[in-house]
């Protein structure tokens, strides 16, 4: 077991012996992972290391071949995906995921609606949804999309779609967020803004993210797990991990300053 | 001056389009001309529609015809389900329905109506004609291939009763989905049963395909006889004699029966792209003729009076000869058992049948007391 100084009670999400086997190929192989409550935890590693697969396992978009997952001490290994989200563990996607035909406002409101639990009311007029507009606007503002509120999401540029996706996810006020490469395809200024945003929202929640942008990782994360070939290669703070020769060889590369 | 409006309601696009369809309109028109309605001060208008063999469409059209368009008489209506629908509406609206195309004997039985005449044939008569004759010739072991729906069941039931009543034996039945395409499996079962006669209690395309495949699998060559329980000359035309030869079937009319039928059929064919009439066409002609006679004799279109006149006057026409309409609405005439010719026997198109036997009118139809017609009992 790796250095586990904090008390177990502070672990919000924990995986033990997590494995995923695809036909003739083991993508994730006995991964142990503990995410501390309130921390920003980064999952990095070379392409194909199994990071996205881990995400899919943790959020039950894939069923693990072996291992257990506990969230707040509760075993969620066999729970369906939608229920996991309802427990407060929400993910974003590596390839942008918005509702392309809905407006930006509606995108965010869908999340708010879920949180408020009135989404099955087919007998009520949707004018009740306007109550959510103010809060939705707030989220949209946070990611700098306020001038696009009524735009159709599908027509936004790639970077803005990512921003919208984050706004939507945040609207759920999840206890824990899983972000898969939130900075991918973002322009520099957005990177800074989203970084700040992630830091801000991390104040009262836990974040687990996959990211290749090392400066972001260095800047944001409290703890880093490095995966390679489906296994944990190294774990610790950025300083520790980035000096690990195995990590340098497998991931960071010698050319990186 | 009386004006009557006749609606020819039949199948103009489906399986029965050839045996009823436009031909029935032609037949109705010929009846009006031959009767010289105009000369007798009766203006006749003929309208027609396609019921697509669906009871709902039929009921719709009938309703609208009676309610809106002032139709007095509906004729033809093949397909029993559609006929029942028209039967109901006609009773409700107190008009007249003279059926030629439909087969179900229930039309003058369980579902009978004082407003309905059933002219040309019915399943009971077909079963009787074919069943009795076949058994009498010593073909007494039967196997039924039955379409698995109400009409098929009725056909099977009626024929089975006749076969067993004449001393025959039913060695098996198999029910196929309706409509079907491949019947080889059932034919093999029939073959294995050792029956002498395979009764085809299905209709339209199903029958045609069964016959076709029976020939392919050498069923008839191997000595079993096929008996079509509801099959028309148009079906034989479609099958071709090579395939259909040897099949036995019952009809009430064949164009080549006598000089009168030949003459009429000649005229009919001239208007119908050279295609000879079916018994359904003949029935439409004869029933319209009889109706017009009643209109002439009563001088009005009052339903009760017309029905009474039609039932009390014996029928007489060149196609079915002399006959009568029974109290329950059943038209009574001879039925004929035919055998389909081989290609060698046939002299040309439409020369298809050899007459095997004739059931006299008195025996041809189900006795009135067996039908269970409600309004008679009253």
């Amino acid at each position: 077991m790796t250095t586990q100084t904090a008390s177990a009670a502070d672990v919000i999400l924990s995986a033990r012996g997590l494995s995923k086997r695809f036909a003739g190929f083991v993508a994730v192989n006995g991964v142990d992972l503990d995410v501390q409550r309130g921390s920003i935890h980064a999952l990095i590693g070379p392409n194909g290391a199994g990071k996205t697969t881990c995400f899919n396992l943790l959020t039950k978009f894939l069923q693990p071949s072996a291992g257990t997952i506990t969230l707040n001490g509760r075993d969620i290994t066999r729970m369906p995906a939608a229920d996991i989200a309802r427990l407060g563990l929400v993910r974003s996607f590596q390839i942008s995921a918005v509702f392309p035909k809905l407006s930006v406002l509606e995108n965010v409101r869908i999340a708010l609606q879920r949180r408020r639990g009135d989404s099955f009311d087919f007998w009520r007029s949707q004018t009740v949804l306007h109550q959510l507009d103010a809060e939705a606007m707030e989220r949209i503002d946070e990611v700098g999309l306020s001038s696009f509120t009524n735009e159709t999401a599908g027509e936004l540029s790639y970077g803005r779609k990512r921003a919208l996706e984050i706004a939507t996810t945040l609207a759920l006020e999840p206890e824990m967020l899983l972000l898969d490469e939130p900075m991918a395809g973002m322009a520099q200024e957005d990177v800074a803004r989203i970084s700040a945003l992630i830091r801000k929202i991390s104040a009262n929640r836990t974040i687990l993210m996959v990211e290749h942008n090392l400066s972001v990782v260095a800047d944001l994360s409290d703890r880093i797990t490095v995966l390679a070939r489906g296994q944990v290669l190294s774990e610790g703070s950025y300083e520790v991990v980035s000096k690990d020769p195995r990590v340098i060889e497998a991931y960071i590369g010698a050319g990186h300053e | 001056q009386t004006e009557v409006k006749i609606g020819v309601l039949n199948d103009r696009s489906g399986v029965y389009a050839d045996l009823s369809g436009e031909g029935s309109v032609i037949a109705a028109r010929m009846a009006v001309e031959d009767f010289d309605a105009a000369g007798k001060g009766i203006t006749v208008e003929i309208v027609s529609a396609d019921h697509q063999n669906k009871p709902d469409v039929a009921s719709n059209i009938a309703r609208q015809w009676y309610d809106q368009d002032g139709v007095d008489l509906i004729v033809d209506v093949p397909t029993s389900s559609a006929a029942f629908a028209v039967n109901e509406i006609t009773r409700e609206k107190n008009k007249i329905f003279m059926n030629s195309g439909a087969g179900s004997a229930d039309l003058t039985g369980a579902q009978c109506s004082p407003n309905t005449v059933h002219w040309t044939y019915d399943t009971w008569a077909l079963a009787k004609g074919t069943g009795t004759a076949m058994v009498e010739q010593g073909n007494d072991k039967w196997f039924f291939i039955t379409a698995d729906y109400a009409f098929g069941h009725a056909l099977e039931r009626d024929t089975m009763a006749i076969v067993e009543g004449s001393g025959g034996e039913v060695v098996g039945t198999v029910r196929h989905p309706f409509p079907g395409t491949d019947f080889s499996s059932y034919l093999l079962q029939a073959q294995a049963s050792g029956a002498q006669v395979i009764g085809l209690a299905n209709a339209g395309g199903d029958t045609v395909n069964t016959i076709k495949q029976a020939s392919e699998f050498g069923i008839t060559q191997a000595g079993q006889a096929l008996a079509g329980l509801l099959i028309f000359i148009t079906d034989i035309h479609a099958l071709g004699l090579e395939t259909a030869q040897g099949l036995v079937l019952t009809e009430s009319f064949y164009w080549d029966l006598n000089d009168e039928t030949r003459a009429w059929s000649e005229r009919f064919a001239a208007q119908n792209d050279g295609k000879k009439p079916t018994m359904v066409h003949a029935g439409v002609y004869a029933s319209v003729l009889h109706y017009l006679k009643a209109v002439e004799s009563t001088g009005a279109k009052e339903t009760e009076a017309l029905m009474a006149a039609m039932k009390s006057t014996p029928t007489s026409d060149p196609l079915f000869g002399d006959g009568m309409i029974r109290e329950d609405g059943r038209k009574i005439h001879d039925m004929h058992l035919f055998r389909v010719k081989s290609p060698a026997e046939s002299t040309g198109p439409w020369d298809y049948y050899t007459l095997v036997a004739t059931t006299p009118a008195a025996d041809a139809f189900r006795p009135i007391e067996d039908g269970g017609c409600a309004f008679i009992a009253e």
């Binding site: 989404s119 087919f122 009520r124 007029s125 | 469409v57 009921s59 609208q64 389900s81 729906y149």
Partner: protein, 326 residues
């Protein structure tokens, strides 16, 4: 991941803004007014047929235009409800309102069964699966002892509404049907413009994302499927009482095709499209009935024409023109 086409038929629905546009209510009111006086000009039985199909098409539209699910087997619900209602009225002597209710219930239950299986597949698969199940229902209707086979259930009594109002007069029945159909249309309208409707749109747009937000997607799909089935059942049951007949036509797959045609022609995902589409197709069948197989050809031509030139449907085009959702 399947390739997502860029512009689908869904754009119309998505363009609907939140809230109930006032002009919709105006149109509903005008429509209602017109229908109140219509029987003095047109044959009431014909009008009732139009109304029933308008409801049927709207029910399908709820699923197709707003749920994004093309059911090619909706005749199963329409037809089975019509059988159940007819049977209840004829064999058990139910009052029409109970007969209809029982029909709706039957359609809903059937919808639950078929829906639970069908929503396991998406897109065209869904269409084919519903089609296949509908075919099963058809065979059942053909062979079951109580459906009367190809004769159907005929001579169904119209009976007395609530045991009081005699429905044998076409005109009385017409107003009852008008009330039923209009009530149902308003209900559909409300469903579309409800929070639930909003979630449906989202699911149709991006299903995995909806799941990741915690929506139990299949429940929503099933819910809208059952609603649509029940409403289609309402149309079928009402039709059975009007025409005093339930027949195989109502469960055959061509019926499923026809109702899709109505919706497409009128405008999928528009509120009023299905009504217009139903009115046109029913009139066409009525007035061109004499043309035999040409009616089928004509329907085919309309189908092809709508798909190629007229995808938004009549009302969709109109809405584009007026720049207002209709």
């Amino acid at each position: 991941m399947t390739t997502q086409s860029e512009t689908g038929y869904r754009s119309e629905a998505a363009a609907l803004p939140v809230g109930t546009p006032r002009h919709h209510m105006v149109i509903f009111a005008v429509l209602f007014g017109l229908l109140l006086v219509a029987p003095s000009l047109l044959y009431p039985v014909f009008l009732m047929k139009v109304l029933c199909f308008a409801l049927f098409a709207s029910a399908l539209n709820l699923l197709l235009g707003f749920g994004g699910l093309l059911s090619f087997g909706h005749a199963a619900f329409f037809g089975s409800a019509s059988y159940v209602a007819a049977y209840a009225a004829k064999a058990w002597g139910f009052n029409p309102e109970f007969a209809i209710l029982l029909g709706v219930l039957a359609a809903a239950v059937l919808g639950l069964g078929i829906g639970a299986l069908a929503i396991r597949r998406q897109g065209i698969y869904f269409a084919m699966v519903t089609l296949a199940f509908a075919q099963m229902v058809f065979f059942f209707a053909l062979q079951a002892p109580f459906t009367g086979g190809e004769d159907g259930i005929q001579a169904v009594p119209r009976g007395k509404l609530f045991g009081l109002i005699d429905l044998s007069s076409d005109l009385t029945l017409y107003f009852v049907v008008l009330a039923i159909v209009f009530g149902a249309l308003l209900l559909i309208y409300r469903i579309i413009h409800s929070p639930f409707g909003q979630v449906l749109k989202a699911i149709r747009d991006n299903e995995p994302r909806s799941i990741s937000l915690g929506y139990k997607v299949n429940r929503y799909k099933l819910a809208v499927f059952v609603m649509s089935a029940a409403l289609a059942g309402l149309a079928g049951a009402t039709k059975a009482i009007v025409f005093q007949l339930a027949s195989l036509t109502d469960v055959y797959w061509t019926m499923s095709g026809e109702v899709v045609l109505m919706t497409l022609l009128g405008g999928m995902g528009t509120v009023f499209g299905p009504l217009i589409g139903a009115a046109i197709i029913v009139s066409m069948q009525n007035y061109f009935a004499g043309f035999g197989a040409w009616v089928t050809v004509l329907q085919g031509v309309i189908f092809v024409g709508s798909v190629l030139l007229f995808r938004e449907g009549i009302v969709g085009v109109l809405a584009k023109w007026l720049k207002k959702p209709l």
